[in-house]
């Protein structure tokens, strides 16, 4: 069974600093996607960044970037120049790349606090 583990229930960072959220996953599949979702207090889930397992290059989206280590099954999210609006729960998620598979497996989340 596929599992996603986020070992940091809570993290905090000073505004304008950089923070890294950790995620590890367990799978026997070779083709899959990895995601980071943000859930602000409004509860709506927002896609932050996506990484295809077959790509060696780490994905980046403005201030958000990932460190994808396929052999180690590690997928961390780095947030640079942290802003107050980044405060939220962050969920790591995984999906097997297979036609007909609609299942996303989520980790338990990391609550990020931004200190002004």
């Amino acid at each position: 069974a596929q599992t996603v583990t986020q070992s940091q229930p809570e993290m905090s960072v000073q505004e304008a600093e950089t923070v890294t959220l950790s995620c590890t996953y367990d799978t026997s599949e070779s083709d899959y996607y990895l995601f980071w979702y943000k859930q602000p207090p409004s509860r709506q889930m927002i896609l932050v960044i996506r990484q295809e397992a077959y790509k060696q290059q780490n994905a980046t989206e403005n201030r958000f970037s990932v460190n994808f280590q396929k052999a180690a099954k590690s997928f961390s999210l780095k947030i640079s120049d942290s802003q107050l609006g980044d405060a939220a729960m962050y969920f790591c998620a995984y999906r097997i790349l297979r036609f007909g598979n609609e299942k996303l497996t989520f980790g338990t989340g990391t609550r990020l606090t931004i200190i002004p």
């Binding site: 996603v4 229930p9 409004s42 509860r43 709506q44 889930m45 927002i46 896609l47 969920f91 998620a93 999906r95 790349l97 297979r98 036609f99 007909g100 598979n101 609609e102 299942k103 996303l104 497996t105 989520f106 980790g107 338990t108 989340g109």
Partner: protein, 117 residues
């Protein structure tokens, strides 16, 4: 720009009661999903639908039913509410299925907080 709309936002049920969680989207998305989020846990897929008239089970379908009579609406029904169904429920939609879209985006509603006492 309504996106995915869920109602109600909060609800308290007594054990054994039934209710329907409503979900509607105005983006003409074929794929719709229901997730539940238990405290301190990630989301788990309950049911999903790939188009009107077609539904399929996810990870945790027991105790729930769904229907998809129109593209816009995907209601989730609890027939005999149990305390184990206390959770936050999220509806989501996608233009193409996650398994075939090259740039899939999952649009989530803001959730329904359900307590069964």
């Amino acid at each position: 720009n309504a996106g995915v709309t869920q109602t109600p936002k909060f609800r308290i049920l007594k054990i054994g009661q039934s209710m329907t969680l409503q979900c509607t989207q105005d983006m003409n998305h074929n794929y719709m999903y229901w997730y539940r989020q238990d405290p301190g846990m990630g989301l788990k897929l309950i049911y999903y639908s790939v188009g009107a008239g077609i539904t399929d089970k996810g990870e945790v379908p027991n105790g729930y039913n769904v229907s998809r009579s129109t593209t816009e609406d995907f209601p989730l029904r609890l027939e005999l509410a149990a305390p184990s169904q206390t959770s936050v429920y999220f509806c989501a939609s996608s233009s193409a299925g996650l398994s075939i879209a090259t740039n899939e985006k999952l649009f989530f509603g803001s959730g329904t907080q359900l307590s069964v006492l």
